[in-house]
Amino acid sequence: MSDVKITIIDREGEAHTVDAPTDMNMNLMEVIRSYELAPEGTIGICGGMAMCASCQCYILNFEHMLPEKSYEEEDMLDQAFFVEDNSRLSCQIPINSGLDGLQVKIAPVSE
């Protein structure tokens, strides 16, 4: 079994539990886009290079299991809005088997 279950709360507050593949080199931002849980053009604008903050999510559990923030991610979050202590750029979170049961909430769109 190469899928994990991830619960994603969209910007309207609705929770979606989806199957995310661990064998497709996908990150969390791409999972959100593949299930169209946020409108195109409002998420993953830079394509996953940690160069915009449109894929910001709040991590609701498993925070300790995620990779450390890179310098680029820290910097980008620094320029973003609505940032909380549990904010991450979802494009910097690769999907792996350890993330089964992960819960995240997509941050609001900033103008």
Binding site: E40, T42, I45, M49, E74, D78, Q79, F81, P108, S110
Partner: protein
């Protein structure tokens, strides 16, 4: 009035390559872009990042790809209107279009091609509910004329290069400069960071870190900003100021194009991908990341393909009575509008006696 055959909105890789394909068909192009330099996202967001899926280039830096495209289209002498956003489009009686930019520059062409990617890059606005009420009444997102700030109190927010550089510059112009940043770390160029530190020590810049501007106050005009400190015990402070300049970088917005009567879906323009990437308005095409159709892939290589197809259709539109067949550059060479000529070396037949 700038006149051209094909008016291209967006000078990213797709828009630039369209100039080449049009040039092969002897059509002249002019490009409009809101950014001050060509290249779109490749230049603005990731010039130093490698791209691995440009056919024939195992690896190319985004910035180098733009440089190469500029070199490739040079013989076709494209015109550029840079640093201006395409605002309005007006269809003329003869079916041609006039596109006017944010600075009032007018462009006239029989064919308009939108290659606008994700849209034009606009300053990011902090989510302060009252901010819109004070725009141009003390709040500005771009510094156009630094003299406006002479002997005034200025609050700048942000931690990147532009926040640092403008704080340094305005320290000698304004009566008081405060720089508010969410963290203690700044991500700008090292010498800018050091300069800000130095100016802060001698009291020329009032550095307020671990803090955010959360509200604005004033009767009509901006009078003060509310700064919230991360440290709970310090709470909020109200700081008197004449100007507030949030500098949080740029983000792309579809912008005025969204109001041109084009069919929009998923933040992109719907086109006819069975034929020529024309929009619902005849004479207006959309190519590259800005368009959408079933199976669309937002890849540079797809934009190149769409540019080539679009040019054939545009040629027919501009020259309805002329017959034309697509030619290979290897066979026909490339003849520039500048008089330059590139062609494959001819084989010489010469007998050896």
């Amino acid at each position: 009035m700038i006149k051209t055959d094909i008016l291209i909105i967006g000078a990213g890789p797709t828009g630039l390559f369209a100039v080449f394909e049009a040039g092969l068909l002897k059509l002249k192009c002019h490009l409009i872009d809101a950014l001050p330099q060509p290249g779109g996202q490749c230049s603005e967001i990731y010039p130093k990042k490698p791209i691995y899926d440009i056919p024939g280039f195992p690896e190319v830096l985004a910035g180098d790809l733009v440089d190469n495209l500029m070199e490739q289209i040079k013989p076709f002498e494209p015109g550029f209107t840079l640093g201006e956003r395409a605002e309005t489009i007006d269809k003329q009686d003869d079916g041609s279009f006039i596109v006017t930019t944010s600075k009032g520059t007018k462009h006239h062409a029989p064919v308009v091609v939108i290659a606008g990617g994700l849209g034009s890059f606009e300053p990011r606005k902090p989510p302060i509910p009252s901010i819109k009420d004070y725009e141009d009444k003390g709040v500005a997102y771009i510094i156009r004329d630094p003299e406006v700030y002479r002997d005034k109190k200025v609050v700048i927010a942000g931690g990147g290069d532009s926040a640092l550089d403008w704080s340094i510059f305005l320290a000698n112009v304004a009566s008081e400069v405060s720089l508010v940043h969410r963290r203690k770390d700044f991500r700008g160029a090292l010498d800018s960071v050091e300069k800000v530190e130095e100016l802060s020590k001698i009291g020329k810049i009032n550095l307020i870190t671990d803090a955010e501007v959360v509200d604005l106050k004033g009767d009509g005009e901006l009078e003060s900003v509310v700064i919230r400190h991360k440290e709970k015990v310090r709470g909020e402070e109200i700081k008197d100021t004449d100007h507030f300049i949030p500098l949080f970088g740029l983000s792309p917005k579809l912008g005025p194009i969204a109001n041109w009567g084009l069919e929009i879906e998923k933040n992109a323009i719907k086109v006819n991908n069975a034929y020529d990437y024309q929009t619902n308005i005849p004479g207006i095409y959309a190519i590259g990341d800005v368009n959408t159709y079933k199976g669309k892939l937002k890849l540079i290589l797809c934009g190149f393909h769409e540019a080539a197809i679009m040019c054939q259709s545009a040629y027919q539109r501009i020259n309805p009575d002329k017959k034309y067949v697509m030619k290979y550059t290897t066979v026909s060479g490339v003849s520039g509008f500048d008089g330059s000529r590139k062609e494959a070396k001819r084989e010489v037949v010469k007998s050896i006696n």
